[in-house]
Symmetry: C2
Subunit: 288 residues, 2 copies
């Protein structure tokens, strides 16, 4: 495994790999890797000749009130985990290279970035799409693997790729969970013992809704389901605020107001809940 | 020469060309080709194994008051000219493919797009950068050739490529002029005989300023030079309005307020003048 620290050497390598007809699989991360990331690497490893993981905490996707400097980092540990997972290259650039002085170009996807996470974090997806396009141009991957956990991120990046004709396939890998159902996240380390015990109720409430729909049919009232999910989450003392519970089309993120009249081929139920200062998200997909 | 009408076939072709290590040279145009475009093709032909010209009138770069439907088009003639110029492929897509329903992703370069042309045409460069990035992703060129005549466009695209790490080299080709100095432009066909006779005064005024600086030194007052240029242009009856005369750094487009204290390696003097409804631009570069 080799570590690429400059854009120049990374782009030179990937250009030469492409000339040699090597399939490049790419997993962009912000580091502090957990089982979730490693499952993405595994998915890439299965299909690619060369697996490249980027580790870069992207300042552009943090809001002014979100603490970039406190985002957990541990490169030595990440390096070890990548080596074990048979990653071929880590792309590990610094801020000066990624956002040099007078950087002023941005990629924005409109509409679907102003709902759900985008409503709470207004500039977040602009930061995501800009860095992801940069990374795609540097790594030149044939495909990139993203986690289902960030379902809106997946939809936004797919939309960017379709609109801008980016020649990189997006592969979505299932959310990896702790034994009790809590979705893996770098943010979980911030949870107190009590919050950690309550956090699995996000997934429990999502599963409740899915079960209700599958067992009792698509004539279930969304307001009723949201109410029941909300009750279930609020029954946990450390769940201080529900930012949203939302039913959307999995592909277009169009809001679903009634299940009865919907003909969405896949329904995404997603939510965001705060446990004090820690904000967790989760989702579930129902395929018809 | 082959005509590619779909994004799919174009992208498939260029992916396979890249695998075969063929150098792709690209000339993006809005059609209605003239000697200026053909000089860009010639420059591409010299260096590339495969030359691709795109012909697409990009609606996104037209303002609400600019008449997209009246933009001159003549594909049969363009095809003939491309064949003569030994173009290998014309990429000729339609609007439905380039901007499908619910298209919502844009590339914006900030700051340098809000001056000069951008001040008069506020959404113009957003349209340019979005289409150019799309075309780069479709055509996957090793290099692209742009005309010096649109100097700000060149600076904006270079900035986009640098910021987004686009792996396409930008080559700038000199402006091609009529015998009397008028820069070639698709818009020249709109000029009346009288306006056509006056139009070369754009270049005349630019040459005046360049000569003054080269002969009399960099201590020339910019306000004085602009005043003299303005006088020269206004001496022509059909020149109804000067939108701007501006001195900028050729690479960064930073405004130069005084030549005395400047250490710019190349100075761009540019202007835009209206002849009734026809708006012409031109520029000159002084390398130190």
């Amino acid at each position: 495994m080799k570590i690429l620290r400059t854009i120049g050497e990374a782009q030179k390598l990937t250009t030469s790999l492409r000339k040699k007809n090597k399939t490049i699989g790419f997993v962009p991360t912000m580091g502090y890797l957990h089982e979730g990331h490693l499952s993405l690497v595994k998915a890439a490893r299965k299909k690619a000749d060369v697996v490249i993981v980027s580790i870069y905490v992207n300042p552009l996707q943090f809001g002014p009130k979100e603490d970039l400097s406190k985002y957990p980092r541990d490169f030595k540990r990440d390096e070890l985990l990548c080596r074990k997972a048979e990653v071929d290259y880590i792309f590990y650039p610094d801020d000066k290279q990624m956002y040099p002085d007078k950087f002023s170009t941005y990629v924005t996807v409109e509409n679907i970035t102003s709902i759900l996470e985008g409503r709470i974090r207004p500039e977040h997806f602009k930061g995501v799409t800009t860095i992801v396009l940069k990374l795609f141009n540097i790594v030149q991957p044939h495909f990139s693997v993203f986690g289902q956990k960030d379902a809106q991120q997946v939809a936004v990046i797919k939309k960017m790729n379709a609109d801008l004709n980016v020649n990189t396939k997006i592969i979505v890998s299932p959310t990896v969970r702790e034994a009790d159902g809590l979705a893996m996240s770098s943010r979980n380390v911030y949870l107190t013992k009590e919050q950690r015990a309550d956090a699995p109720y996000l997934q429990k409430s999502l599963q409740y809704a899915k079960r209700k729909i599958l067992l009792e049919g698509y004539n279930k009232d969304i307001e009723f389901l949201e109410g029941q999910m909300s009750k279930l989450i609020k029954s946990r003392k450390t769940a201080t605020k529900i930012d949203y519970i939302s039913f959307n089309d999995y592909y277009t993120l169009e809001e679903i107001k009634s299940l009865k009249n919907s003909n969405n081929s896949a329904i995404l139920i997603s939510l965001a809940v705060r446990f004090g200062k820690v904000r967790l998200i989760d989702n579930i997909v129902i395929k018809r």
